[in-house]
């Protein structure tokens, strides 16, 4: 229990530094927010009043404190670009879209990676193994925006199977939502699929050489059963670590895919805000993403104990 408390304290410290960094970075931004809100050509007094009202004349640390104490209670301020909506509302609308895409991408990657890795590992060194290995290595070298454009070219334009650049909310129509989300999710899945398959295959090959696998085989269990019931769980350890490591990339490809397919998620929101110099928006979004990221990583750390009993009692 003490370990958990310590870890949470560490996470809070990290988030504190992140928030300060994000705040500092965006305060250094050139350009006057008052001009951004009002537009050009107003009398100077109006700009000065607005600056006073926004608190831009206060010292940096006080502004940081104001922003942070607001952020903790859920008040991230309002967007600078019309419509000047509440940042938290916008994030609340965008986050579910991004989460759905990321989770779908991860699920697709896992569903495909596990059987592919098993197939590869069962015939290690054979033609299938080499073919899968080579294609996964190839996929790793295709940046997600390029993969997205190619898939759009093939599936939306060539074959006309999937629509482009629309989003149907899950609450409106489940079928419509899945139809619109599938192609973007596949793009997100590709890179993870390649990594997962490679890592799981290598781990499976190591596990398959262990004595308990030999014992299971000697009992006459069919090979697929040995693979699924005996080999998979002990081999999934690096896979879980890898999911933690690749989470950052997963978020990155979600951003790109949302931009590419013009989906109303966190990614397209943050890219647009960055392009327009809308700093309260960028600050809020970065902080929320960092929060999710850190929380999920911590969750993955704790899941080791479940997967591998050997790590349960070890004190770091």
């Amino acid at each position: 229990m003490r370990k958990v408390a310590l870890r949470i304290g560490e996470l809070a410290g990290v988030l504190f530094i992140v928030s300060f960094g994000v705040f500092l970075m965006l305060s250094l931004m050139p350009g006057d927010p008052a001009v951004a809100i009002l537009g050009e050509g107003h009398p100077p007094q109006e700009y000065a009043d607005l600056r006073q009202e926004l608190g831009l004349n206060d010292p940096l640390l006080q502004r940081y404190w104001d922003w942070l104490s607001g952020a903790v209670t859920g008040d991230f301020g309002t967007s600078l670009v019309p419509p000047q909506s509440d940042v938290l509302d916008r994030i609340g609308g965008a986050l579910p879209v991004s989460l759905q895409l990321a989770v779908m991408g991860l699920a697709i990657a896992l569903v495909l990676a596990i059987p592919l890795a098993m197939w590869s590992a069962a015939r290690a060194g054979g033609t299938v193994d080499r073919l899968i290995g080579a294609s996964m290595f190839g996929i790793l070298s295709v940046p997600s925006f390029l993969a997205g454009l190619l898939l759009i070219l093939i599936f939306s334009n060539g074959l006309g199977w999937f629509p482009r650049a629309q989003w149907v909310r899950l609450s409106d129509s489940i079928g419509g939502n899945l139809h619109h989300a599938l192609l973007p999710a596949v793009v997100i899945a590709l890179m993870e699929l390649a990594l997962f398959t490679r890592v799981l295959r290598n781990d499976l090959i190591v596990t398959l050489n262990e004595d308990f696998i030999l014992a299971a085989r000697a009992k006459g269990m069919p090979p697929w059963r040995v693979m699924v019931t005996d080999a998979l769980r002990p081999s999934s350890f690096s896979l879980v670590t890898l999911m933690g490591i690749s989470l950052g990339r997963l978020i990155g490809s979600t951003v790109i895919v949302e931009y590419l397919f013009a989906l109303p998620g966190m990614g397209s929101m943050i890219v647009n805000a960055a392009n327009q110099g809308d700093y309260p928006m960028v600050q809020g979004a970065v902080l929320v993403i960092a929060l999710v990221y850190v929380a999920v990583n911590a969750g993955i750390d704790f899941s080791y104990g479940y997967l591998d009993p050997r790590t349960r009692r070890v004190d770091a």
Binding site: E10, G13, V14, L15, I17, V18, G21, V22, M25, L26, L28, M29, P30, F137, G138, L140, S141, V142, P143, S144, F145, L146, L149, L150, I152, L153, I154, N157, G158, V199, N202, S238, T241, L242, I245, L247, G248, R249, I251, G252, V255, I256, Y259, I270, V271, A273, A274, N275, G277, Y279, V282, V286, I289, A290, Y293, V294
Partner: protein
């Protein structure tokens, strides 16, 4: 002495290798040329034929080489090295090469726009909407991309490596402070950090390199630190200290030369990640701006319905990007397998 039987088996084997290799090479070459040049087929069909041809060609040449040289050659590795040498040379020599116009629209008013790639013409890889030559733009794009990524990796490796060695050698207070900052940097997903940075940095080559270097620093610190801790416990470090070496000397003469190999192989792997990051940022419109070409902003030109009619706008820079990233990935993987067995597993 190998027996006569073995020798004969080897020569039969060699003849077979040569025949199969030759057949595959010819068929592959034919398919590839056919796929590339036949105008009547659909784009998808052409691409499939071309790729199948290239795959057969690869297998064929591989077998031929094995037959002629009598040993296995890692053809992929050599092709990757060849591509990288070619692209780096082209990028360095770009201003002296007889290339078409790459960014001055005023000079291409009379040039045709959206010509499709046709080798042996004035624009071997076609032109874009303003008649700018895609080959020239791809090579100048390589110049920008490679310069940014290499600068960033160099800065990141030197800074991150130094901090990592210091943290790993001194431990205690220094280590915890460094640890907190690494964790804070790693707590923001890389692309998000880049986007946040791009809101207030001018997208110049120098700023892009610094922003990307910031991404590489935390992982470099971690790697250098972990390796330093392992090496610091070894006998040769103890020996140096007992002989009265200062801490500076121990780090510079004993630790750095050992830590440098895994750090170097990590750097090679990172180059490709940085090329992708730079391209992604330019694609999002937050990196190097038009009309200066980078692979990312060239690919972005295909957006908004243009790619559908003129796929080569996306495919040409996309191919350059893919081949370069692939080559660096492969080299990085080989380097890690050789010099950094620990990271190579992941």
């Amino acid at each position: 002495m190998p027996s006569k039987k073995a020798l004969r088996a080897a020569s039969v084997n060699r003849t077979r290798l040569l025949t199969v290799g030759a057949v595959l090479t010819v068929v592959g070459l034919a398919l590839a040329i056919f796929g590339w040049s036949t105008p009547s087929l659909l784009l998808g069909g052409k691409a499939v034929l071309f790729l199948a041809g290239v795959a057969l060609l690869f297998q064929g040449v591989n077998r031929l080489l094995q037959g002629v040289l009598g040993r296995r050659v890692d053809l992929t590795l050599w092709l990757c090295v060849g591509w990288l040498v070619a692209i780096v040379l082209a990028a360095i020599l770009a201003p002296y090469l007889p290339l078409g116009e790459q960014n001055d629209v005023a000079k291409t008013l009379l040039e045709p726009s959206y010509t499709t790639p046709a080798l042996l013409t004035e624009h071997p890889l076609g032109t874009n909407n303003q008649g700018l030559d895609l080959l020239a733009r791809s090579i100048y794009g390589a110049r920008t991309s490679l310069m940014i990524s290499l600068l960033a990796v160099a800065v990141g490796t030197v800074v991150g490596g130094t901090i990592g060695v210091i943290a790993g050698y001194f431990r205690k207070g220094v280590d915890s402070v460094v640890g907190i900052f690494t964790n804070a940097l790693l707590a923001v997903p890389p692309l998000i950090l880049l986007i946040a940075l791009s809101t207030f940095l001018d997208p110049s080559i120098r700023n892009m390199s610094l922003a990307l270097a910031l991404l590489t620093i935390p992982s470099m610190i971690r790697l250098a630190r972990a390796n330093t801790i392992t090496f610091a416990q070894r006998e040769f470090v103890m020996a140096a200290r007992l002989m009265g070496a200062t801490r500076m000397r121990v780090m510079a003469r004993e630790l750095v030369p050992n830590v440098i190999l895994p750090v170097f192989s990590m750097a090679v792997v990172m180059i490709s990640a940085l090329i992708v990051a730079e391209a992604s940022l330019s694609f999002l419109g937050l990196g190097i701006q038009q009309p200066d070409p980078t692979w990312g902003n060239m690919i972005a030109e295909g957006e908004g319905g243009i790619m559908e009619d003129h796929p080569h706008i996306v495919l040409v820079p996309g191919a350059f990007l893919f081949l370069t990233v692939f080559a660096f990935n492969l080299l990085g993987e080989k380097a890690q397998a050789r010099w950094d067995t620990r990271s190579a597993k992941l």
